[in-house]
Symmetry: C2
Subunit: 135 residues, 2 copies
């Protein structure tokens, strides 16, 4: 478990967030379900409902290209600007960062088109430094 104690999570939300924090990396909803069976979880909806709230709170991010979820890398995070993720295809490591400059340029484009931007998905696939070195 860790951080984010300032928000009162429900029991299920706390269990799901704890799983993701402990994992230190992305987990699928069904992987979380298996981790939490000993805590009484029985059905995928228990996980998905908690994840929906945690994503809404900004404490968890969804990785669209992995169909997985990851705890925000910021301590005591209650939400921040558009995040991006560098995903290593060798080792599965995920690094979160906040490319405000690139997002600004994307936002410029949407504004020039009259498109009202609500949220962004930016996921970079490749090979991390460690895996490049070892492979």
């Amino acid at each position: 478990m860790s951080a984010h104690a300032h928000r009162e999570l429900t029991k299920n939300q706390a269990l799901v967030f704890g799983s993701l924090s402990d994992a230190g990396g992305p987990l699928t909803a069904y992987a979380i379900l298996d981790l939490l069976r000993e805590d009484g979880f029985r059905a995928p909806l228990q996980v998905y409902r908690a994840l929906d709230k945690l994503v809404e709170f900004g404490m968890v991010h969804r990785l669209e290209s992995l169909n997985a979820f990851v705890a925000c890398s910021h301590k005591d995070c209650t939400g921040h600007g558009s995040a991006a993720f560098a995903i290593c295809e060798k080792c599965g490591d995920v690094r979160e960062f906040t490319p405000d400059d690139a997002v600004g340029l994307l936002k410029n484009w949407t504004e020039s088109q009259g498109f009202a931007l609500a949220r962004t998905t930016i996921e970079l696939r490749g090979t991390c430094k460690g895996c490049v070195a070892s492979g």
Copy 2:
């Protein structure tokens, strides 16, 4: 049907690409399957195998946040730099563009981290100009 005639597609590849071109927007694999049943398609693998090749050729893009596929908006396209997509959540319209400037900044970040970038997923969700006006 349309364009891309310079590449020799197999029968199934041509049928799948034709469906996507005719649709003028994103389709899920199963939607394509239903469209092609009258052409003899019976199983999802027939669609997925064709889509894999079309994506490899750069003629079709996968939209991760929709679990859907869309024909490249460029005529006679055999592949191009990193594409991005603005997806209207009201009407479902998808606009493809190529934000070289923003991708350059993202690439700068990956290089500073020793991350070998292979490909990008950039999907912007929001409301298109027409839907903003009418809503």
